[in-house]
Subunit: 312 residues, 4 copies
């Protein structure tokens, strides 16, 4: 069942936030803090320009700069995966070549998100795209934002393309993910990574190759240890780590009710952690002061629980 | 984390199919075969009149007869849970009292499914309902059919009602289920059961009290052993059993693409197993002959794999 | 284009509310008041047991009583159409025969609303149903409540059945409705009625055979005159009547944000008009006092504008 | 009710297709043919870079070139409106300033379409955007593609901004559009334009200021005459023109079932009309040959009916 050893990508690959200055320019000092924080935390790779990285809000120029700077800072110490999702194919291709030029290891693409492609249109798009890309490609299933779902048969078909090496599933639909794990269990090259950190533990227990947890921006070591405990099926270690992730999820991501609450909470907590400011790119915006204070208080409690847990 | 020992309901509680004659009357002979099959398979309870039981398609008279006959046949050997979901409250109440009269142990209710209730309307409905019911109540989260989702805060509120003792979650949204497991971890009476059998293993590993797997109509012992292996975190036993469930799921439930494919496949396989005929209640209908033959062939292969597995 | 003269059903056919006593029994006194109010207002028919009539919330016994009493009160003075929508086919058939027994002229059916039927399943269901019904049938497209949409091709197919005589479209999708009007323009028997009263005027202008406006429970004559003005393309009469309908819609139906706000507002306004009490059947409930008072004030203003308008 | 005379924008403003060469570059020769065709057809304005213009599929450089070339070709003869919809605010702002530089008269913006903004987030986004734009702005309600709906209260709030001058509604929800027409009937500056051409006639009859019909790329004069007939409430002229639009809609836009069928059909018909080639920008693609031939045949019939109609 578990062929992940041969696979190129496995483990914890956080979707890195994009730190911003007040004028919406890239905050290079914080970018450096966060990359060092992640590498020190033992993550297996870094994924930039995903949903958590607010990719859709930036121009191609901004993204090019972010790719260059991140790869310069990481300097080959770990793999960097670059999101190339864009409603324009030409933009996606440009980002892909930029990523290759500066040393990225793989690309990640959610479907173009304006027209709702049919499954045959989706397959055609990805077969064409993968043919032309200079680096291997992860599919990115993110139906809550793209309104397109990679159906099982489409993933099976695309998994046969030599340049498509995995899927990151952020659908939260665990039966769907189990079906992919089962149907692709004998594919030596196709990695299956899970998005929502609340199911990182159970997914890895059942054979997932890794995860892309947003909370790892804050506490990279926690998610790495959770991943290792799940791989080793060590429940006495796993369960308290999982509980800590649930405490993070239910405290930091749910201050507001909308889709942006997760991202606002995460950036606000990073601000309290002095890793970056809490500016979000338009069209999103930061919490008001009262919510920011609530995050600060909750984070303090979390850090206290966490330091007790990690020292044991 | 795991308080399930004190809880009233745990383990495998199959959603029993409703066997029909060609004229859409209840097939008593098959009902007896299936109940004996389930009890012999070691299930911890039987849930009648759920989605798999095609409850919404039957009149109240039909349901009353089914409740009476099932409880007569089971004769106290295991617990019977009765679905009372109906768009009419008076019908739900009548079914609840019928269930109590014939000896059921608990009731299960998905929201009334014509008007899309707001969360406050949903809470008010269930608080009123639970006040008046003669038996303890399971909430039933089935958004693909009811178009209403029991939001986290609504479940937390309803869990405080003394007569509401659990939730069966068929949303397939595993992060949602993990949040409920976490937030209700200290509630000694509230059971959390998972619907989709593809995630039965991982859910029980992480603390679910049990599951309501449709495939247990066919192979009750398989699901019971899977549940026990997951409870004991015995992976060498668990993984092959989980693989078998995935083989069932990907072979029997996906012949067609629509929502009814699962139910048609299940009843067709029960027909091949000589447990009941494959008639479905209107508005659903059986497979055409070619699909029925495909199910028969696939089932034969499954049974062969299964008998090898279970004898080891 | 306009063949409606030969059609059996045209004009204003209000979806009658179901007046209730506090104990959720049928309020016969108010039922009589409302039927007289509608007949006096000149409506072309009455549709009972639709969405506005809260059909899904009642038992079959209750519905049988309502059918019998309504037909007794109407006593042949105008046509009565009876909703037979139910998730159980046997219940639908029983209601159909009840309707025929007491003198109804036609039946109305929205799809069974628990399983989401595919379009072929939908067609098969209605062809079987129409074969067996003792009265002609209107299809009822109500996707916001049933989650099933009668696609254009399905309506064209079903329009060929001799016992299916029309469609009531409550989808609010006007391009869809125009396509049906165009594609069925040469069908001498198939009536197309529009649900939302906000587009009654424009729909009739463009060839619709009539409408099923909820507000006609309150002000039947207004909607009848609007219909006649639209049929005659008399804009100097039509526009002020349409403006009045918009004033009703934007003032009475939007107190709350949820799906039930329309029904609560309508029953609350009927209460202020002393036509019936404002009890709703479970799972819905009446407005709180402050909202009820707001409705009363708004209704007074509306009645004042209306009496000026209708006397001119 | 009808204040449209004072309004800046009214009448037929076609959403111009973007003609492409095989290598996905802008086809300047066809761009010239189409702009001349539209101007000769009497349209009241041209809207470039909308959904029909495949805006989301192009880079900012491509869009800048299209804006410049279109405005050069139009040369002040009619107003040009420019779509600035983009998931990145910086890109939208750049396009807005480009549009102003080359002489556009107004801007059109659908919401950023990756994150699903809440209504307060939507309002904040548009108030900020409108503050900074060099030209007046039309809101663009296109929920089938953006998954965001401009709710009534949000439109009322945004209509108060001095730089927001109208809404193009492509929701197909006619009751919603009627509510806006009613609630904004006394606003002298806010234009309400309707998207779907199937309801152009009825919308203008009831007070809409105009429409944005895709079919006007093919037959501009038809839609202009339909608009004028509706404004004058001249039904003997209006009805045959509306029937012709319905013939176009049901014949050309429905060859396939998906969302892209409209655009493929339109470009294929423009190809048969020798106005441009039928290349679509990735991720969409042209019809296969058999579908293209079907369009050609149907178009010939349409042209024959149309020439009879327009000569009378």
């Amino acid at each position: 069942m578990n062929n992940s050893i041969q696979k190129l990508f496995r483990g914890i690959i956080p979707p890195m936030v994009t730190p911003l200055n007040e004028d919406q320019t890239l905050d290079l000092r914080s970018l450096n803090l966060i990359t060092e924080h992640l590498i020190k935390g033992g993550v297996h790779g870094i994924f930039i320009l995903g949903t958590t990285g607010e990719s859709s809000s930036f121009t191609t120029d901004f993204k090019e700069n972010l790719i260059q700077e991140t790869l310069r800072m990481v300097d080959g110490r770990i793999d960097v995966l670059v999101g190339i999702t864009d409603s324009s194919l030409e933009n996606s291709n440009y980002l892909a070549h930029t990523a290759e030029k500066y040393g990225a290891k793989a690309l990640v693409s959610a479907p173009p998100f304006y027209y709702h492609l049919s499954q045959p249109e989706l397959i055609a798009y990805y077969e064409d795209l993968a043919d032309s890309l200079p680096l291997p490609l992860f599919l990115y299933n993110m139906p809550s934002h793209t309104n397109i779902f990679f159906e099982i048969d489409s993933v099976l078909r695309l998994s046969k393309h030599p340049n498509i090496i995995g899927l990151k599933d952020s659908s939260a639909n665990a039966p769907y993910f189990q079906k992919l794990l089962y149907l692709l269990r004998n594919d030596p090259k196709f990695s299956l990574l899970v998005g929502p950190e609340e199911i990182l533990g159970e997914s890895v227990l059942m054979g997932a190759d890794g995860g892309v947890p947003g909370g790892a921006n804050l506490f990279p070591q926690l998610y790495v240890e959770l991943y290792e405990a799940a791989r080793q099926r060590n429940f006495s270690t796993l369960i308290p780590l999982h509980q800590m992730v649930m405490e993070i999820s239910t405290n930091l991501y749910t201050i507001e009710s909308g889709q942006s609450s997760y991202l606002k909470g995460l950036k606000s907590a990073l601000f309290s952690s002095e890793l970056c400011d809490d500016y979000l790119a338009s069209p999103l915006s930061s919490f008001e002061k009262s919510d920011r204070n609530m995050i600060a208080t909750r984070l303090e409690n979390l850090q206290s629980s966490l330091s007790k847990l990690m020292s044991t």
